[in-house]
Subunit: 359 residues, 2 copies
């Protein structure tokens, strides 16, 4: 069976081994006579599945018992709201770094709640093509600092996490578990699963328990992190099947050398495309080199007409989702953890041929 | 391969045809070279899947263009909050019928928001063993009336929807699309998918557009029904795979005679167990006959020791999840749409044998 080359920014390509295991066990999980989709979330069979996924997530990030691993619903967009509800303040600074559309959306939710929002740094002045590093405006008594570690649309990425005195909240939706970070710098990490760690439908979060306990009181039940911590993400029915697939992907990451191992592979994949962009007068990268993302690589061609032609020919050559986000145009290749090297090579070869045919 | 008899209250048994189709297409959806889990939600392939599921849902309920079909996240528990946020009032009555744990939880969320809550009817006086019918306390200018059409834990079910002047909001989580109702009586219907219509991880909702437009202003983006209506449930990444499976289940319902057809089968299944309960001095149903649920059938044995023995022997005989909810004890069999007649017969035969062996 022939697979497409899937450069989607998310939901995105999953490891073939994981898909094959899911397929094999779809009707009867490990011969137990029912699908994971049919299991009561209160059954021992399912408890083992979610426990395994949580343990793998904590192990991969090197987080201990002072953190809770959570599986939540509603995507990062709901986390924009939950973070603001739980930790926001109308007196202390709620600090945000604005690095693009998703940061902007997080800021919007805090403003809707009437919080004391302080955008302490922004790269909007240069079209979000870099990561601003000066965080001197973050007061040590700020309620929190919120950052977006990888910017899916613009293609920038924090190479390391910043150090600040205030609690650090990191939206890692598009680079979660694709590289080592000093995760312990964060009080709260969250990520929609549908990029590097699984199918859409669940958010993986890690929260320092003492930070959760310090949150605002009187919140609606589902919006309160403490609800989900106290019930092990089983206050209500969790997205059981998505969590199961995430667990298999986490096992696959561990089997591929953990975060250090997967990072080496991700660097090698991205370098192939960045090297082409840097050596070409035809293609043009859009991000300052030091802040380039390993996950999402936007690029432009000499004209919009050539971009249209490029996308049409790429589609005909079995390559999906190379179009840039509708808000910025151009082209974008997403190379998440499960992107095969073969697809990267196929794209780079195609781009070289397209350049020589259209120069 | 032998299947278990799965009486789980949810997540629950799915149609074998659906599981087999999901399995067949798991790695490569209809030969397209990628899994549904890997598809960009913005791709034409996926748009066709969600459009199909929405059209089937509207057709099954007989709802026209004045309603929007939505796929949301966070379960019914998040709907308790969203309904209260969107339509709640601190001056007009926010009316609730309390028929058990889930109604109680919905009421709790409205109270957290400080709304003007009026519990207009309750069956708490008799352990939630019936559906209260007198709705004369619902003012015609009430903000809304909220009901729970099937009570998973207690085993009661509305045989038809009430008629009130106020907008009607119905939590149909555990009997959605298991029987015909006059759905047009409702301004808003919602249901976690994991009982009758699919895997956990998505909520199917139907909302009258004019009702949504009448909602409160200034809400957080993800909490506002209008956000999801305006973007066709694609404001952010929806739980793509869960929605795909729901679409297959809805097709299966249509192929089984639609709601009228599935209702006949559901009545036949439930009657087999209720007839046994009614004819036995050993087993005892817990609900008044006129309000009995076709979906969830709680029953008791002469003693807790016999209940323990019953559950142990049932488990050994390949029957899962017959234990009553931890809040009420006893036994419970859930017969959702996809429960095979064969499993019902197996249970009833087992119960007859257990009775004669232990009387």
């Amino acid at each position: 069976m022939s697979r497409v080359h899937n450069f989607s920014a998310g939901p995105a390509v999953l490891p073939m081994e994981v898909l094959e295991e899911v397929q094999k066990d779809l009707v009867s999980y490990k011969g137990k006579g029912l699908s994971v989709m049919e299991m009561s979330h209160r059954s021992p069979n399912y408890q083992a599945i979610i426990d395994d996924a949580m343990e793998r997530a904590a192990r991969l990030m090197g987080l201990g018992d002072d953190y809770s691993i959570l599986f939540l619903q509603g995507g990062a967009s709901t986390q924009f709201l939950m973070t603001a509800l739980n930790f926001g303040s109308k007196s202390k600074d709620c600090c945000y770094v604005n690095t693009g559309s998703w940061s902007t959306a997080a800021i919007k939710e805090a403003k809707i709640l009437g919080l004391n929002v302080n955008v302490v740094a922004s790269s909007e002045d240069k079209g979000f093509t870099y990561i601003p590093k000066d965080l001197s405006k973050v007061a040590s008594d700020a309620a929190y600092l919120h950052i977006t570690t990888n910017n899916t649309i613009r293609g920038t990425e924090y190479q390391e996490l910043p150090s600040v005195a205030a609690p650090l909240i990191a939206d890692m939706s598009s680079n979660m578990l694709s590289r080592p970070y000093d995760f312990k710098k964060c009080d709260l990490i969250y990520a929609g699963a549908q990029k590097n760690i699984g199918p859409a439908g669940t958010v993986l979060a890690a929260i320092k328990k003492s930070f959760a306990d310090s949150g605002n009181e009187g919140l609606s039940t589902m919006m309160d992190y403490r609800t989900h911590i106290s019930k092990g993400s089983m206050f209500n029915t969790p997205p059981t099947f998505s969590i199961y697939v995430v667990g298999l992907v986490l096992k696959w990451i561990e089997n591929n050398g953990g975060l250090a191992g997967i990072h080496e592979i991700n660097k090698e994949k991205a370098a192939k495309l960045y090297n082409l962009l840097d050596s070409s007068d035809f293609y043009r990268g859009t991000v300052v080199p030091e802040d380039r993302s390993l996950m999402n690589i936007p690029f432009r061609l000499p004209s919009e007409d050539l971009e249209k032609k490029f996308l049409a020919e790429a589609g005909a050559a079995n390559m999906l989702s190379l179009k840039g986000h509708r808000s910025v145009g151009g082209c974008r290749a997403s190379f998440y953890n499960a992107m095969p090297m073969e697809s990267v090579d196929f794209l780079v070869d195609f781009m070289k041929k397209f350049e020589s045919n259209n120069k």
